[in-house]
């Protein structure tokens, strides 16, 4: 699949998107504006509360071992073992990075019910994508590319689903390759989230407060002429390099 070629540098696109939002705001009625102000304030409050809570529960240590906490545009791709992965990765980011970073989440779960939708849309500013009934009209890639073109950074889980196999990481789905090809100037940063599956295993509701680490690795980009298979292999390898070497994590 070929994405449309990028025509504007991302920062110009971002400021244009911001202006667009402001212009739209003026046409809103005063009541709607007050309502959305309250919703925005509530969302901001929840964002802070969630960051504080996940810091307390996981005592998270952030390791910048291949790049720094600069607020440049990136696609963060991480291993996926727990429901809380997006939240913890998002918590681990520096505030300036967090402001421009949007987790990618499944529409079949997060678009259901007004509370979930509020959390996904207003609190985390998630990009919701369709997993099940993909059509030409709701192609997940165009939503992701569209949000990259507004200057946003993304959080994606290329394994596609939570890994409960006991293996270190599942094979990658190809979406990350298509993103890298459509927007080659955006760097891809591997992120290893350790231990969160023990804090909150699949199917459990109450977390146990074990310590987690989030390790950011060296950014990578699609090489000229690199094939899909070799890029996906390289990206997965870069992620696995960040995993702690224990006997249970044997590749």
């Amino acid at each position: 699949m070929n994405g449309p070629e990028p025509t504007v540098p991302p920062d110009a696109a971002l400021s244009r998107a911001r202006k667009g939002r402001i212009r739209n705001g003026i046409s809103d009625s005063a009541a709607a504006r007050r309502g959305s102000l309250i919703a925005a304030a509530l969302a901001a409050l929840l964002r802070h509360a969630i960051v504080l809570f996940s810091r307390l529960v996981t005592g998270v240590q952030v390791r910048w071992s291949g790049c720094g906490p600069e607020p440049v545009q990136r696609i963060y791709y991480a291993n996926h073992t727990s429901n809380g992965d997006s939240i913890l990765l998002w918590t681990a980011l520096a505030p300036a990075q967090r402001r421009r970073t949007r987790p990618v989440a499944a529409a079949d779960y997060w678009a259901k019910g007004s509370i979930r939708r509020f959390v996904a849309k207003a609190v985390f500013r998630s990009v919701l994508i369709e997993r099940k009934e993909v059509t030409r009209g709701n192609n997940p890639l165009s939503a992701l590319i569209g949000s990259l073109d507004t200057g946003a950074s993304l959080i994606v889980f290329p394994e596609g689903t939570r890994n409960t196999s006991g293996r270190t990481a599942l094979p990658f789905k190809s979406g990350i390759y298509h993103l890298a090809r459509a927007r080659p100037y955006v760097e891809l940063v591997p992120v290893w989230i350790a231990n969160l599956n023990r804090v909150l295993p699949k199917g459990e509701i109450l977390p146990i407060p074990l310590l987690c680490t989030v390790t950011f690795g060296k950014p990578l980009r699609l090489n000229d002429g690199e094939s899909k298979a070799s890029f996906l292999y390289r990206a997965r390898d870069a992620l696995l390099d960040l995993a702690p070497q224990t006997e249970e994590n044997a590749r």
Partner: protein, 317 residues
């Protein structure tokens, strides 16, 4: 001396500790400014981070002391939580232990400290060694996962014993009835901590200054015979010098201090063995420059029950 009020003695102790810290801070800053321009040496930066960590720890202790017995008990419950999470993080539990661990963190730990606080020695001294010991594996086995079962339940039990049971003997000192020493038990906690921590620090200092022969090369390569002897003996002298805050005679204070320092040293070795086997240098990253809470508490954890029982047997009514 013995009629001096507990508050006055506490002020003197705190003043002494703050004075020492101020001195250490000044020395650290001077060393840093002298080494400016010289090739970067992590040693001085780490020394200053450690000193700053000490300021934070002393501030926490001071804050807890303002709230008396309850404050100190709550402080140690929180320290137990921090230690237990570090310990379990490095242990090999599986998903099927989730409920047992929930019980450990959110039931056993708070109940143990509530029992200590309400002075129920008969129950708190068996809660973890007997009841948690029996019930935690029952919760785990109900999930039907037999893989490495004994290893898993043993590690969790060990964690609870070390991080909760043993550590809870520090606030338990506050509940001892010692004739003629009423209202001053908090000073026993201060005695235990000052001796155990100064033993750790002085082992490090003696080791740096005079260390030649390694004492346990496979377990803890940085520990030396000279550091061990110098640290334990200086801590014994410090303990003897603190007899005036305790119900002990000077020679008794010296013997108890030596027991604390020896247990602290051996406890440090045991905890190092676990860390080394797990391939980590520190238990965690809670205190900048020091590592995790267990890195600071390992000696106290091993010394506290021994000190508690010695005092309870010979001095308490």
């Amino acid at each position: 001396m013995s009629i001096m009020a507990a508050e006055v003695q506490m002020f003197l102790l705190f003043g002494g500790v703050l004075g020492l810290l101020t001195f250490a801070t000044v020395v650290g800053q001077v060393l840093e400014s002298r080494s400016a321009g010289a090739p970067a040496d992590g040693g001085i930066a780490n020394l200053n981070a450690r000193i700053n960590g000490w300021w934070a720890m002393v501030a926490c202790a001071g804050l807890a002391l303002l709230f008396g017995t309850t404050g100190v008990t709550v402080l140690f419950a929180v320290l137990s939580l921090a230690a237990l999470r570090e310990f379990i993080t490095l242990s090999h539990t599986r998903r099927s232990d989730h409920w047992a661990l929930l019980a450990g963190f959110f039931f056993v730990l708070p109940v143990q400290y509530a029992l200590v606080w309400s002075e129920r020695y008969g129950i708190y001294s068996v809660l973890i060694p007997v009841y948690a010991f029996l019930i935690m594996p029952i919760i785990s086995v109900l999930h039907g996962d037999v893989r490495r079962f004994l290893g898993r339940v043993a590690e969790v039990q060990w964690g609870l014993m070390i991080c909760v049971f043993c550590l809870s003997h520090v606030p338990a000192l506050l509940m001892l009835d010692i004739p003629g020493y009423e209202g001053r038990n908090i000073l026993l906690v201060a005695f235990l901590f000052i001796v155990a921590q100064s033993s750790d620090v002085l082992q490090y200092v003696w080791g740096k200054l005079a260390g030649r022969r390694r004492i346990a090369p496979k377990v803890s390569p940085a520990k030396t015979v000279e550091g061990f002897l110098g640290g334990v003996l200086s801590a014994t002298v410090i303990g003897a010098g603190l007899w005036w805050i305790t119900p002990f005679a000077p020679w008794q204070a010296a013997s108890l201090a030596m027991a604390i320092a020896l247990m602290g040293f051996l406890g440090g070795l045991v905890m190092s063995a676990i860390k080394r086997d797990r391939g980590v240098k520190d238990w965690g990253w809670m205190i900048e420059g020091h590592g995790g809470s267990l890195d600071r508490l390992d000696s106290v954890v091993f010394a506290a029950p021994v000190f508690f029982h010695l005092v309870r047997f010979w001095w308490a009514s």
